[in-house]
């Protein structure tokens, strides 16, 4: 009897559970943050679907400004018919202007919210985030998945490295690493990834342009899909990367020389002028591409050193390979460190020929 009473009392607690019935909530799919005109204020934009009937639904956006993201949320809540639900969020966008001043202040509440997943995507927009969210790109974004799918498919099947909320937070909270995020821009009818935004902690300090995304990816992680466009005076072509393996090793301790070795296996998919079926020719192409890759990679690492940032996480690799790692000493020496990049390229296929 006592047990039953206890059970019954437990049932009374059910009033404490917060109900979020699917059709009674505003399901926010994308969040955008901009700098507001007032000082110290940011402008938040939410993008959510409204369902008209089973076949048609469209995205609606709302904007409000406030000093914190919680304040923005409250402001927005005062405008929506159904309470705002943030659990199905898939992308958070920041305008470049805001990113240059730091985004962690805004991200912090979202980072603490257990309802927000870590597999969602972050992006930096060249234009204002509101400008990007206010368009539905000829129904492309009618389900609210456009931005996340755009980033996801580029990460899985193309040159964009794997970047999401989790990797951002990892890089941000690591002692000697800095985050990178996709850099988006609105074109006529679509949003395009025009490069990577590089950060010093949570402040954006520069960009990597489109051509160098792949180089960055090879230096950043192992992957299995990507393509590299190469050209010189005599010919141009395209190398489809089948496999890329990254290895970072200290050559001279402490913190003097680091070698990044990248093993790349690839397939020649496009090639002008010379007969690519000839093994000799393939060898020479291999050499050319290798040189180009190494040259570009060196340019990147030098750029990072100049900005005193470490998006590649070299510091993390060094730390893991050094007993008694001294962070302060490493940071002092980082800009003068010799970062060597070596590519081992192997072209395994050159397509059907003859």
């Amino acid at each position: 009897m006592k047990k039953l009473l206890l059970l019954f009392m437990c049932l009374l607690l059910s009033a404490c559970a917060e109900k979020e019935i699917l059709d009674d909530i505003t399901i926010v799919r994308t969040l955008g943050f901009d700098k507001a005109s007032k000082k110290n204020e940011i402008k938040g934009t939410i993008n959510y679907p409204i369902f008209i009937n089973e076949q048609t639904f469209k995205m609606k956006y709302l904007t409000a400004s406030g000093e914190t993201s919680k304040e923005i949320r409250n402001e927005l809540n005062e405008m929506t018919a159904k309470p705002i639900f943030i659990g199905k969020l898939n992308t958070i966008l920041f305008s470049e202007k805001l990113a240059k001043e730091g985004i962690m202040e805004t991200l912090d509440t979202l980072q603490r919210d257990p309802g927000v997943g870590r597999a969602i995507y972050l992006g930096i927009t060249k234009q204002s985030a509101k400008h990007i969210l206010s368009d539905d790109y000829n129904y492309t974004n009618s389900d609210g998945n456009y931005f996340s799918n755009l980033i996801k498919q580029n990460e899985n099947f193309s040159n964009l490295p794997l970047l999401n909320f989790h990797t951002f937070l990892y890089a941000y909270f690591a002692d000697s690493m800095d985050p990178v995020l996709p850099y988006l821009s609105k074109q006529k009818d679509a949003v395009k990834i025009i490069g990577l935004a590089i950060f010093k902690k949570d402040k954006m300090v520069g960009t990597i342009d489109e051509q160098q995304i792949l180089i960055f990816k090879t230096l950043f992680q192992d992957f299995k899909e990507g393509s590299f466009q190469f050209s010189n005076k005599a010919y141009k072509g395209n190398l489809e990367i089948l496999k890329s393996h990254l290895d970072i090793k200290i050559i001279e301790k402490p913190y003097k020389r680091v070698r990044i070795t990248v093993d790349v296996k690839g397939r020649l998919t496009e090639y002008t002028k010379v007969n690519a079926g000839d093994p000799k020719v393939v060898k020479s192409i291999e050499k050319t591409i290798k040189k180009e890759l190494e040259h570009n990679a060196q340019k990147l690492t030098r750029k990072f050193q100049k900005l005193n940032i470490d998006p590649l996480g070299i510091g993390e690799h060094v730390r893991s390979q050094t007993r008694g790692f001294n962070l302060k000493q490493y940071k002092d020496q980082y800009q003068d460190m010799d970062i060597e990049v070596v590519y081992h390229l192997k072209i395994t296929e050159s397509g059907v020929s003859q």
Binding site: A17, E18, L22, F51
Partner: protein, 493 residues
Amino acid sequence: MRFFKTEKSVKSNPAVEQKENKHLDTNILWQETGISDWESGYIESLISQERFNKEVLRFLQDHQQLSSKEMFEQLPFGNKYWEDEPDNKTINEMILQGCVALKKRSSSGMLFIHIMKEEMARSINVPEIEFSVIGPKEAFNEELETNLLLIQKRLPTSALQIEFIEIGLRTKTKVAVLYLKDIANEENVETLKKRLAGIEYDHILDSSYLIQMIEDNKMSIFPQFIDTERPDRIVASLIEGKVAFLTQGSPHGVYGPVSILEFFAAFDDYFLSWHIASLFRLMRMFAVFFSIFATPIYVSVITFHPELIPDDLLSTLTTSRTDIPFPPVLEALFLELTIELLREAGARLPTKVGQTIGIVGGIVIGTASVEAGLTSNVLLIIVSLSALASFTTPVYRMSNAIRLVRFPMIILSGFWGLLSLALGLMMIISHLLGLTSLGRPYLAPIYPPILSDWKDSFIRLPFYVQKKRPKQLMVKEKQKMSWWKKRDIDEFE
């Protein structure tokens, strides 16, 4: 009808006994036979008049000179009994069981001859509940003797023990307990016999009465015995080392101890190839989980955890729910109740009408309620699928239990979502862990884990792999076969 000298297990009801003691039954027809001074007593509807006239009376006439004791010795009947000093109680009992009492007025003592009327029993039919496409198609009927015959025919061994107990203060129902002497665990046999003997109840009309009275946990909704209408299934269980009982007047044999997994094994599984049987069994297990948890998961996800819905389903689910006035719990309960009503109506109506109700009701009510905006079409699919899944359980008792378990789960998930669903699952599991069947663990091959018994649980491996009887039954003879050597199938010694 065979006359069974039963073990007197019934603790008699004193009130009933006194009444019976004082008077002879008024239905008994006492009359002079007209042959010397013999008088006879019997109940007309019980005995075979033809045999009485042709065999008993003729013999009396031919041997008029014999005294009653001599007559008893010479009577050419198998079922004859002699009482030196019969009291009214014995006389009543014997006559009510289909005996003719014969008494010579001049001498003491009474003799009884059992010549009960051959009953008009139902013929042996095809199993209706546990129908199998392949395999024998004989089912028990209401006659205990026929049922025993069906079993003995399949088990011509002297190890087969049949013990009779009489249960029911008024119905005096005969129950036959069956087991194989050299295999079955004696503890199991004793437990079952003791429990059966301990029953004090007015009337036992079917073996399901007994099942409910001897279950280990009578509060549990999970059945702890399997009742089957297939004699082959009873035989298989006996050979495995289980104990079975048959009840007079019941077309179902019952056996135990059982584990929960047996309820999802159709006997058909043994007739099909083991690959297919295994697939079917796994399918049934999946169906059980689906049936119990599909609707509750839907309810809790829609109500409390919309973040769990995949992106592609978001619009479908949202739009399907937009016009619905009820919270998801009520919506789900409403639909589940509709399906249960359909099932119940179908079960109560005559077969032909029942079928129509099922189809018409399912289609018409389902479609109409979606169109009227009372339920969402996604939920309709889930509910009808889970109802369908619950019908795959081969044992009727279990499939009912599964359908019942679903309701508290739905209500719970309406309270706290997945949290309370997990709580409910925990409660079910802890209940099952504590449950026993004839004192043996109910979850047996799973917990306590007995890996060797898994060969015939979730899956059914080929016969040559199953060399031993299930360990959980603690049988006397563990080996099922000793002759299976690794050799070519056509190689002879």
